[in-house]
Amino acid sequence: MSDIIIKDVSHAYETEKVLADINLTIHSGEFFTLLGPSGCGKTTLLRVLAGLIRPSEGRIFAGDTDITELEPEKRNMGLVFQNYALFPNMTVKENIAYGLKIRKYPKHEIEEKCSYYMELSGLSDLRGRKITELSGGQQQRVAIARALVIEPQMLLLDEPMSNLDVALRVKMREEIRTIQRKVGITTLFITHDQQEALSISDRIAVMKNGNVLQTGAPKEIYDNPNQEFVANFVGASNRIEKAVYGKFGIAEKEDVPYVFMRPEQMKLCRDAADGVRVKIENMKFLGVYFEYEVSDGEYEYSVIEINRGGGHTGWTIGDTAYLTCKIPEKERKRSQEEGA
């Protein structure tokens, strides 16, 4: 397998530009995620890779080979659709075997490969079933097995989890990741769910309006978002303007007009010496944590406190508190240990 290189790819539907000068390299064996809101162009990019859309400009390479002009059936990409697109006129086994039959594999080899991938996806008992007799999760497994069995150079997953309920979604993403590691296949995954992206990917590209805004490992993107959209789309964040750096004790190290601070990286204190005076405007209890909306009269901030048992932390709406980014070293360490 080789790296997939997307070079200067742009695409427009009539006059509407949906991809603008995309440059990405997806490394061999990597689990790469395109994350962005609906309409950001991520599905278009996936379809460009699959060969279902020919881009208006730019080239796609698999290693050194230019595959831009290749018809979809010649690309050897395993595609899993949002609604799975299983052939309703065929059984589970026939769906999975379809790609192999087209490649004219001998019968025993088709049988072997199908069995292996059905086993891998936990479908062995369902081989003779009609597609309409399967649950959503089972259909998804068939779609993945059908895409993998042809041993594609890349697996393309187009929001495969969006039709599943929350609990199943978490389970299936673990399964997908396990299978991907086992097979070692380069994978492009598309989602609008930041949790999903953070938990499953090797690297993430955040997209908006046809542009890639930032590319990096999940932690890198979460900790160092390079612009406001990324900071707010991947988790929530507070924007702290340069004018108030001093109040929060942020060193004016670089010439940036503002910095982002995650709600869980901020803290409400009772001691005036510790930070900026704010009023608690609203609070929500969300089980794992409390979420506060506070205001210093000019800016609004969001703060999260972990629920460490014992119910309420003692703040009520209307209270005055002092907001700080300086979480005491002891507490920070403890959180890190808990996190790890």
Binding site: R47, A50, G51, L52, E69, L70, E71, P72, E73, K74, R75, N76, M77, G78, L79, F81, Q82, N83, A85, L86, F87, P88, N89, Y98, G99, I102, R103, R146, A147, I150
Partner: protein
Amino acid sequence: MRDIIKRQKKYTVRYLWYAVLLFLLTGYIIMPFFHTLAQAFRTGEGYSFAAFHSYLSNPNQLRVISNTVWMGVCSAVTCGIIGIALAMYMTFLSGRGKKIIHILLLSPMMIPGVITVISFIQLYGESGIFTKGIEYLLHLKSAPYEFQGFGAIIFVITYTQYVYFYLNVYVALKYVDYSTIEAARSLGASRFQVFKDVIWPVITPAVLTSLIVTFASGISAYSAPNLIGGGFKVLSTQIVRSKANNHMDVASVQVIILFIISLTVMLLIQYYSRRYQVNPTDRTTEIRPVKGKHGVFVFLCRMVILFQILLIVLPILAIIYLSFMETRSIMTNIFPHDFTLENYLTIFQKPRVLKPLLNSLRMSMMAVAAGLLITVPSSYLIVRYKGRFHGALRLLLMLPWIMPASVVAINLINSFNKASVFAFGQSLIGGFYIVPIAYTITALPLLLSSNEVALIGLNRNLEDASRSLGADMKHTFLRVIIPNIAPGIMAGGVLVLIRTIGEYTMSALLYGVYNRPISISMITNMQEFKIGISLAYGVITIMICYLALALIFVLDKKRFL
């Protein structure tokens, strides 16, 4: 390089196919129409409106035109009232036996019009069982009514054509989200307001489509006005008469007038239907029939529906019963009772008598096969690629929809009564193929739209999935697309078979010694007083239609039940 050559090959196949299609459509739809135009406008020297002028200045002919329009309007209105009422009843009130009642209500569609007219005559005609029965019971000296003229025509058309309204509205009502009805009721709307504000907007497109269809079949109806019209003359009967008298110029003028009437009304209704486009919501709560209410209203509805079913079933029962009677008994007894199998034996024992049945079967099947060959790839290209060229292609294929049967037939006569390039230097008139060709032309719009519906319902991703798994276009089309739209395609094909097997209008204008169809044989046998054989023909045709109907139900349950 090899890929480039392959791609070129792919396009070559497509363009070759476009060429064949354009050849056929030009030769068999467009050119024939222009031949009719030429025929109508040609005078001794050059072209003029002279023929139209002399035709339209004759008050008798004007009468024919107004009769035709009036027949279209009345049949659309009566079909609408009965069809919508039945669909509403079936959706909101029907409980037990719903499926059977539904099938019975659909059944007139499955019986060729000419057979229905004959069975109506056997029941309500001057010497019909029903008429004689009433005479006998009330000790009357003569028939209490005359089953002839305008009223009789409308009666027959209504009971054969209301099905379009019924089926379209019934299907449309399935898209009414029941929760919107509940919402309207909870906001204080009365039953009538719910109908007006919630239900009517959803069924409007279906109503307008049905209006077009019933109006069109009203103005082009031939068997009813021909057999029970009495003195009521309409364009379709006059066209056949002109042709029989070899006045092709007059026939052409009549055809163009009929076409203009048809076109005008369709454009008008199309214009309105564009303003009433409703997009149904995806997730709908199904309508539940109202239960546990036994008011006077519901009781009256039940009575009306019972009467309707009786009206539908009685002619069928009558024709089946009479087909087992000796013709002498049918002619002389009030209630024929001399049982015989002779009528059927004659048909199956004498090749000459069996021939029309085989002819009709063969010609209908040819029309289905040819129609599918033309429309399946076309509908795929139209749905898949869209664009102006495909829009034009679609328009051409739908063109026969606005052409009444007699128009299609006269166009073909005008075009193929001499050697033609499009028939490879042959003249087709009088030969076998002209009738199946005419059937195919009228079948195109129906097949195209049923294929389109099936294709639009098909998940586009299936095609992409197949291709990304390595299948080329041809393989994808044959292995994935065709199998998944097969039920829709077959249902369309079966409908065409049913509608052409007893076809009468075009057959009357185009048949020859080699391809005498069953509808013509039914009429001639009746005129020769071999009523038994005529009725047995009818019963066999009905049986074929019902077998085909059963096939549709099995193939495409979702759409019809």
